[in-house]
């Protein structure tokens, strides 16, 4: 089946809840109403004509301009060798999407990852913990507005940039060569500027 046929079959079953198949150049996708995604997925897996037995990928895309987080489902059928891309939009402020863990077990880890990196809550998920980042990490790094704290538990992750520092040294040397310029006396070089532990958020 082509994507169009797969989409037709889904629309025939779910009507308006499955949006139209987009026409982007490379891979078309269709938008599904968030509340019905688990049902749509279950149908896609269990309907013998579709038989989407593989959840190939489950991920998310942050779209701050539209104030949504899109959760993307790539489904594939080993039996029929066809695929479809489903998308669900969730509110950025409190993203919440039903889990598809009950449909494919592979979703357990995929959803944990999306929860970890985007902060999307999958309601009904049995084990929604952070997977890649430490449990006490603050923020969800793959969101576009994520600001890095600059370290973790007092472990600094910033290295002095010799390219910038050397340029500063050059500029200073040049200033020293020009007699009219006044140069502030150099303080002895202090220890590398690492903030004290605990100051990091």
């Amino acid at each position: 089946m082509t994507e169009q046929e797969v989409h037709e079959r889904l629309s025939a079953r779910f009507g308006d809840e499955v949006g139209p198949l987009g026409e982007p150049k490379a891979d078309p996708f269709c938008l599904v109403r968030a509340a019905r995604i688990a049902d749509v997925c279950r149908f896609a897996k269990e309907d013998p004509a579709l038989a989407m037995d593989l959840l190939e990928d489950l991920t998310a895309v942050d779209a701050p301009k539209r104030n949504v987080i899109e959760v993307v489902y790539h489904l594939f059928s080993y039996r029929h060798r066809h695929a479809i891309v489903l998308k669900v939009e969730a509110d950025r402020a409190a993203p919440r999407v039903p889990t598809v863990e009950g449909v494919w077990r592979a979703a357990t880890w995929f959803e944990r990852e999306v929860y970890d990196l985007f902060g999307v809550e999958f309601s009904g998920h049995g084990d929604l913990r952070r997977i890649l980042l430490p449990d006490d990490w603050i923020g969800h790094p793959l969101r576009k507005d994520y600001q890095e704290a600059g370290g973790y538990r007092g472990i600094d992750n910033v290295r002095e940039n010799p390219l910038v520092e050397l340029r500063r040294l050059d500029e200073r040397a040049r200033a020293l060569r020009q007699p009219e310029a006044t140069v502030a006396p150099l303080a002895p070089a202090p220890a590398p500027a690492t903030p004290a532990p605990g100051e990091k958020a």
Binding site: K25, A26, D27, L55, E56, D62, V72, H74, W104, I131
Partner: protein, 379 residues
Amino acid sequence: MERLILRRLQADGEEMILNFGPQHPSTHGVINFMVETDGEVIRKAIPDVGYLHRSIEKIGEQVGYPGFMPFTDRIDYVAAMFPNEGYAIAVERLLQVEVPPRAQWLRAISCELCRIASHLISVGTMAMDIGAFTPMLHGVRERETVNDLMEALCGSRLTYNYHRIGGVAFDLPEGWRDRTLRFLDHFDRFLVEFDRLISFNEVFVKRLAGVAIIPAPLAVDYGLSGPNLRGSGVDFDLRRDMPYAAYPHFRFQIPVGKGFVGTVGDAFDRFYVRCLEMAESSKIVRQALESLPDGEYMAKVPRRIKPEPGEAMSRVESARGEMAYYVVSDGTEKAARVRVRTGSFTAMGIVDAISPGLMVADLVALIASLDVVAPEIDR
């Protein structure tokens, strides 16, 4: 979770929590397993990943399209050609660039050599985890030759950065073809010797046959792919079934687990499918070198890569299963989202389900047979 397990532990007092990793000789990188054991028998092994998370997907949003290529090397540094290829194909689909045939062939050659190199590590470390050291070093010895070939081809032994959006970075160097054919001649003999050294060694077979069986439906449900999936008896290979690059032009078999010495889907099947795949890769490289078309090895690609808004997915049969890149473009020079779906990630998810009832030594066999590589899980 820890507290949960501890509470259960206090309840009956018979079980022990073993922190298997993050620094453990057989976790193949930095992975932790919280193993609940009753003596030698595992009640549950809960994988804890993320120790090697380097936010490569975030980096993909911050460097331009061509600049991300070297980072893909670091996704799976045991087989860095596949991430290269997957990313290149995804962006090419976004750009709608046609890759010249010679580049397609070069991609297939480099990837299949890389598959050999990666599987050598996999089967070698598997033998090592089972306790035989020599096969591992034999594997590494052969891999060194592949590394030398790669070094001559693209200048690096590990992080190749060979593929480019629209083709490959270099043509074959002089004499490379003959060197490769010589290696393949030697390698086919090596595979026979390797089988006699370890594959069918009775001690080895007894350690793996019927151990950690993953039935086909479970493997599909958990999204296993690549040799792990084929080890469970599912006859599916992206190179044959969803052809990309030059693969439709080659003839090769897809080895599938048949329960060679035990049950379909056991650790030995996953191991031996890799051994057989190496022989197939060797065949593919030979065919590709023989039928290598002339012409450009790089398509005409604009200097500033700026795909129109849209999204594309590329699926590549990597050494560790399906590697898929999902690239979303917003029309700028930087991707809006680069998502990497890796075989190791899904393979790791199944440990939870397979581990109960195994012995501690079998857990080692299970991890080795899944051939997970920590950076590929964590990215």
